[in-house]
């Protein structure tokens, strides 16, 4: 894998993750992540829109003048969202109904416009498409992680309603993790979304710190080195 694509992978999935680092697109992230099925549905829809919009923006980047670039980007994103919406109506109508307003609202998801403006409008098609894929995956992964935490704590069950996405055979995927579980309603309610997103961000930062402290190499500034000092004399 070329190094710039590898760099894009790391950035999209971890170091510049749209949900955990850029904190973009929080509205659908918080509202839809009540269970895994919804989270995965919205994550895939966002991923699709992000790839399509990044490719299209990158294709037209040289013929759109700077002054009108934002309206053009928004139009491109909106058409991609409309396609997604129609596809979902055709193939998974129940999920379309469950996601409701948050599907059309993907248009206003600032993570998508952010990528169009910051990356796709300055790069050729292949890196732009790859960037869209990785950013979308990063967003979808956080959505699914948040969705599974909230579903597990809020209901004691995982993978309920997966038939909305994968058809009737997925009904058997529902697994009851805790029996006789007293539902922890806060996890499903809006405050839970904020609290658990905050905890995920904290966990990510903590892991970063841990890796940084592990990878620290003994540098020249350690014992025995000379110190540069401009005031006073060291005796």
């Amino acid at each position: 894998m070329p190094s710039d694509l590898k760099d894009l992978t790391v950035k999209g999935l971890w170091s510049n993750n749209p949900a955990l680092v850029q904190l973009l697109g929080l509205c659908p992230l918080l509202a839809v992540s009540t269970n895994v099925a919804n989270a995965l549905g919205l994550g895939l829809a966002t991923l699709f829109v992000l790839v399509v919009s990044n490719v299209s923006v990158s294709l037209v980047r040289n013929i759109v003048s700077n002054a009108i670039r934002l309206p053009v980007f928004v139009l491109i994103i909106a058409s991609a969202v409309t396609c997604t919406e129609l596809l979902m109506q055709a193939y998974s109508f129940e999920l379309y109904q469950v996601l409701g307003i948050f599907l059309p609202l993907i248009t206003t998801n600032c993570a998508i416009l952010g990528r169009a403006e910051a990356f796709a409008s300055k790069n050729p098609v292949v890196p732009a498409a790859y960037d869209g894929l990785m950013m979308g995956l990063g967003f979808a992964l956080v959505l699914v992680a948040l969705g599974s935490i909230r579903e597990l704590l809020g209901t004691g069950v995982l993978f309920a309603d997966m038939q909305l996405l994968f058809g009737t055979r997925a009904e058997a995927w529902r697994c009851i993790v805790f029996k006789d579980y007293e539902p922890f309603l806060l996890a499903v309610l809006p405050p839970g979304a904020f609290i658990f997103t905050g905890l995920l961000i904290a966990l990510k930062n903590r892991l970063d710190q841990y890796f940084a402290s592990k990878n620290v190499k003994p540098t020249a500034s350690d014992a025995g080195s000379k110190r540069a000092r401009v005031t006073g004399v060291i005796r």
């Binding site: 007293e182 539902p183 922890f184 309603l185 806060l186 996890a187 405050p191 905050g198 904290a202």
Partner: protein, 342 residues
Amino acid sequence: MMLQQVSAPHLRAGQSTEEIMLRVLLALVPGIIAMAHFFGAGVFTNIIGACIAAVLCESLCLRLRDRPLLLYLKDYSAVVTAVLLALALPPYSPWWLITIGTVAAIALAKHVFGGLGSNPFNPAMVGYVVLLISFPVQMTQWTAPSSLAANPGVWDSVLAMIGSEAYDAVTMATPLDLLKQNDGFMVSALWQQYPQFGRFSGVGWEWINLAFLAGGVWLLQQKIFTWHAPVGMLAVLGLMSALFYDGGSSSSGGSPLFHWLSGATMLGAFFIVTDPVSGATSNLGRLIFGALVGLLVYCIRVWGSYPDAVAFAVLLMNFAAPFIDYYTQPKPYGYQARDADK
């Protein structure tokens, strides 16, 4: 002759955090005894469970934050939070309920924001609200006062705490519940109909509140806090209930005495609203803070959808405390008010 040389400051406040917290715990004792008298041994199992959970959770958080364990554990702040939370929970709560509440109070409300002194919200009330929102059924089942039904014994309360279903307790609606659900009865008829009502408010509740009042007045005399916040809260709560009492009709909100001596009023007024960290800081600010808490308590109790409201009122006003501080900043000595020149 040697003169002893001591650097400034020469005037010190005599009280350490540890001492203040111990006095607060001591002041809670009359209220705890009154509660145990009316609700049985479940009050003690609540307190013990919450204290154990709080100390464990505090140690874990301090460990994660690389802070010295003993130094922070022996200021007793975690224990005070635990006891306040335990008193707000219904007696005979199961261990998992107590633990979730305590973890929310200590880890989420206190350590996430930087530990004691940095928390914008009252930890005990955050724990209580997390539980009230998450487990409404368990959080609204109060056992009947001992004069109306026999309380479970000590063994039964231990069983209740480990989550066993094998104990019996009679639960009854609290007086605040009854008044809220009242439709069509005059207040005096309501009083005759339900045995839960006592002389001024609920059977038992009036004594519990008086006991907390006594503890609070002792703390006031010890100068642990100033009179502003509790007086502000009780005054406005009384004023509001006097205004909307309308002689005890069927749509009445209850008399001032009823509101003063019901639910968590006195516990809130003297032990929650007076929190020096999450409240306003100047004396005028404290008065405003307390008054608005009192206003919110009355509004939520009478027109809101929850029977008691101290926790919600305190948390809402904690949001507003920095704003109150901004407008009630005391003038430094020697400065003149800008308007005085005109």
